[in-house]
Every structure is written in C-alpha cells, then in structure tokens.
Amino acid sequence: MAQRRFQSVGRRQALDEKRIKDSLITGQQEQLCDLVRSALDEGESAKEVLDVMIAGMQVVGDRFQKKEFFIPEVLLAARAMTSATGLLKPILAASGVEPCGKVVIGTVLGDLHDIGKNIVGMMLEGNGFEVINLGRDVAPEKFIEAAKETGAEVIGLSSLITTSMPQMRRTIELLEADGLKGSVSVMVGGAPVTQEFANSIGADGYADDATGAVQKVKELLQIG
C-alpha cells in the first residue's frame, strides 16, 4: 500500500514539474498558482517547488538572451513567478530557507527609466534572490544606506541616459569612502553602459541584459 502510494506520488510529481515549468515559461499566472497550491497540498516541499520555478525562469532568461523572448514574455513570466513565490514565502520563511542573496537595485540619480531595472529585479527574484528595489532617480547615499540596512551583498545600478552615468562612479566612490568596497559588490548596467565603462569606474560587474545580470550576481556571490 505504502509502496503504491509512493509510486503514484512520484509519477504525478514528474508530471507537475513539467507543467509548473511550462506554465511559468508561458506566463500563465493563475494556472501556475493552482499547480503550486496542489503541489503543496500533496506534500511537496516549498523548496522543491521553488527550485522547479527557478529552473523555468532560467529558460525564460535564456530565451530572452537569444532574443526569442522579448519584454512582454519576460514580464508575464516574472509576474507569474512573483505571484506563485508569494504562496511559498511564508512556508519557506517558517522552515528557515534563506534567499540565496540580497541585492539592492535602482536607477541612478537624474534618470527616470524604470522598465529595464525592474526586469532585472524580477529575474533576480525569479532566481531566488531577495531584491530591494529603490525605484528610480536614486541618490548615491540611498544605495549605500539601503545596503547597510538590509545587509545586501550586491548593489545594482541602472542608467539609461549617458548624463546620469557619472552617478555610478559617485556611488562607488562613496562605497569606498565608507569602507564597504569589497564587502558589497557593485553591478552596473543599462543601454549606454559598457564593460569598459564598468572597468573604468571600478565596478565589480557588468551585464548587457537581465539574464547576464543574474549570472553575474551569481558569479560575484559564488553561487553555482
């Protein structure tokens, strides 16, 4: 009896894993939440369900990087992910599962662009990170404060206009002055930002899209 039950759960689990991934990749929020709820009802661990969704989000990231997916597909998948993760959060917190890292993100002072930075934030969340999103037009001091308050390991700076890019350098200088350079890594990105620019201002990482940003944060935090 016990044996049969185990097998049947095992089969369903394999089936649901694919369906969970697929509904995430196609951005079907309600379907995904239903599947997550029934997986939990059937005794799956929240951590395992989360890992399946993270794998799905990585597929979304890959397709975005290959330009098979564009903003709409990524946003819908990320929204489904956020909403399904909401179901898991209380359980994860109760069982002591920690996020794999904390990242403070924001668009720098003088820059009012929001969309690209938000996509990076959602992709990071989708990959198991806790994201503290400070919004746009964020002063250098605010980034440092938020990193101190939350104990974030990474600050992600976004700039979409060239005139706001010097604020990235200022943030790094301030971090140095505070003696935090080294313990908090700084990532930079945005349309006009390049690897050369990142090097020239002493940033720890640069990525040219949201998927690359997730990979870079993982690299910086040495997460496999």
Binding site: K66, K67, F69, F70, I71, P72, E73, L75, L76, L109, G110, L112, H113, D114, I115, D137, T162, T163, S164, M165, P166, Q167, R169, P192, V193, T194, E196, F197, S200, I201
Partner: protein
C-alpha cells in the same frame, strides 16, 4: 490626402530631417536631472539657435524639442500642469526659427511625441484611455503652436505608438502623422524590445484601421543596422518611410558619451538608407548640424 508634407516629398523626392536635440542641449549646458523640454521656456533662445543651425545645415524638416512633453513625463519633473505651455512653446520656437531662415521652400515642422515611459495593461498599469488622453493634450498644444505634422518617435510599444497616432488624428483629422519605432537587430531580423517586426507593425496599422502618413524608425542603432528596417518597411508598404539613426553607438570616455561616427562617415552610411527606400533621412542621438550638413550635401549631389 494632400498636405505640405506629401507635396514636398513628391517635389523633392528626398527630404532631410534635422539631427539630435537632446545631445545638442547637453552641449549647450543642459544639466543632470534637468527637464530638456523646460528649456523651451527658460532657455528659448538656445533651443531656437539649435533649430536655426539645422536649417542652415540644410534640414527640410525640423523636429520640436517636445520628445518628453507628455504629461506623464513632465510629471517626473513636477511640470505636468505646464504641459500645454511647454509643448506650445516648443512648436512656436521652431516656427520662429523657420521665420528667421527664409528660403524658397520653407521647412516643415514636425511636433515630436515620445513614449510616456509607462507600460500598457496587462504588462503595466496604463490604460489605453489614459495614454490617449495624455497624447491628446500634448498634440493639441503642438498644433496650437503651429506644427505641420506629428512625428511619434522612439516607440518600442506598437500599441502605444498607435494610440499616439489616433490622438493626433482626433485633434485634427488633416494633421499628417508619422510613426517611428526603435528596432534592434536580432537573429530573426529587426525587432522592437516588445518583439514587434516592421512588417508586423505595418499590418497592425492596417488591421486596426489606423491611418498614418508615414512610418519609420529612429534611434537605437547606427545607420548600418537600420538598412534592414527600411528594406523591410519598403517591402510591405507604399507609405513614405523616415529613418534617422544615431551617430553610431555611444562609447564612454571619462564618463561622457562619445558618438564616434564622424559627419562624413555618418553621411555616407545614412545615404544608404535613402538608397534602401527612405524618403526622409536625418540624425538622432550624437548627430550635429555638421552631420546634417554633410548628409544634405551628399544627397543633393547624388540626386
């Protein structure tokens, strides 16, 4: 529909659009976090000077300094209450500049309408109705200020671009409207960040019965990557096509964006957009009156 725009295209075959406004304002002293459109009021003479420099460089079309003039964009600077004043002033400055540079064939003035920075439902929270309202307020002021046509520029969302075009026609049915999207090269061909191809956009316009007077592309890339966009549009529409690329891609030098493409190189590459079928060519970010001057000279020599 007869308009000065269609007449001029028929007569001259190829029209030169002006170059960058934003990067020119920065060189003129526009500071970090300042609202570029407010310069239409606070530094009107400098904006007018830029228009006049482009007219002297040979531009047939000048574009108003109202790219970020939607109420939503102005709100980021606490200026939404001044939407009407700022856009109207932008149009009037271009009219004044045209008056100051008399010539046999007066230039056309395109009122610039850029993205609101909001995403439409279901991706974002903006409703079609709210965007339509915003564009209508902006475009009405541009028309009051005297623009000859509206250019909807640098759009990545085809739906938002279409709403701007609808708003323009609702303000004045006879107002010519041109709609530009910004594309990037992908393995499947040019796509906007929303995944829209040039062909798909032209089909959307037709399917939704949106009447526009031209389609095109600007910003995002240099001229090299724009050739495929113009070719794709040429393959699916008979409407006039407009294309104005950046002066190459920006490179950062000492925290300042440098567009490396020199005027002669820019002119040579941008002339190929005319060969590919564009009826209006000019420059976007990083271009200067000298870029437009060389482009204009090259194309008038060819013609």
């Amino acid at each position: 529909m007869a308009s000065r725009l269609t007449d001029l295209i028929a007569k001259k075959r190829l029209l030169i659009v002006d170059g960058a406004m934003g990067t020119m304002l920065q060189s003129a002293g526009l500071g970090l976090g300042e609202c570029p459109e407010l310069w239409n009021i606070e530094h009107a003479e400098r904006v007018q000077d830029i228009h006049e420099d482009y007219l002297k460089a040979g531009a047939d079309i000048i574009v108003t300094n109202t790219f970020g003039g939607s109420p939503k964009k102005l709100k980021m600077f606490g200026l939404q209450e001044r939407t009407q004043e700022i856009n109207r002033a932008g149009a009037e400055l271009a009219v004044k500049a045209r008056g100051a540079c008399s010539r046999s064939e007066p230039a056309l003035i395109f009122g610039s309408v850029g993205p609101t920075g909001e995403l439409l439902e279901p991706l974002g929270t903006a409703t079609p109705h709210s965007l339509l309202d915003q564009f209508t307020v902006q475009i009405r002021a541009l028309v009051e200020g005297g623009v000859d046509a509206i250019i909807v520029e640098t759009m990545i969302s085809p739906e938002e671009a279409i709403l701007a075009a609808r708003a323009a026609k609702s303000v004045l049915k006879s107002l010519p409207v041109i709609v530009n999207l910004t594309y990037e090269p992908t393995p499947q061909g040019p796509r906007t960040m929303m995944g829209t191809s040039p062909e798909r956009f032209v089909k959307m316009l037709a399917d939704q019965n949106v009447s526009v007077d031209g389609v095109g592309t600007n910003c995002g890339t240099g001229a090299d990557d724009m050739v495929s966009v113009v070719a794709a549009l040429r393959g699916c529409t008979r409407m006039p096509i407009v294309a104005y690329p950046n002066a190459g891609m920006p490179r950062m030098q000492d925290s300042v964006a440098v567009y490396d493409e020199a005027p002669d190189e820019f002119a040579e590459k941008t002339a190929k957009l005319a060969d590919a079928g564009a009826a209006m060519v000019g420059g976007c970010c990083g271009t200067t009156p000298e870029h437009i001057n060389q482009l204009s000279r090259r194309l008038s020599n060819v013609a």
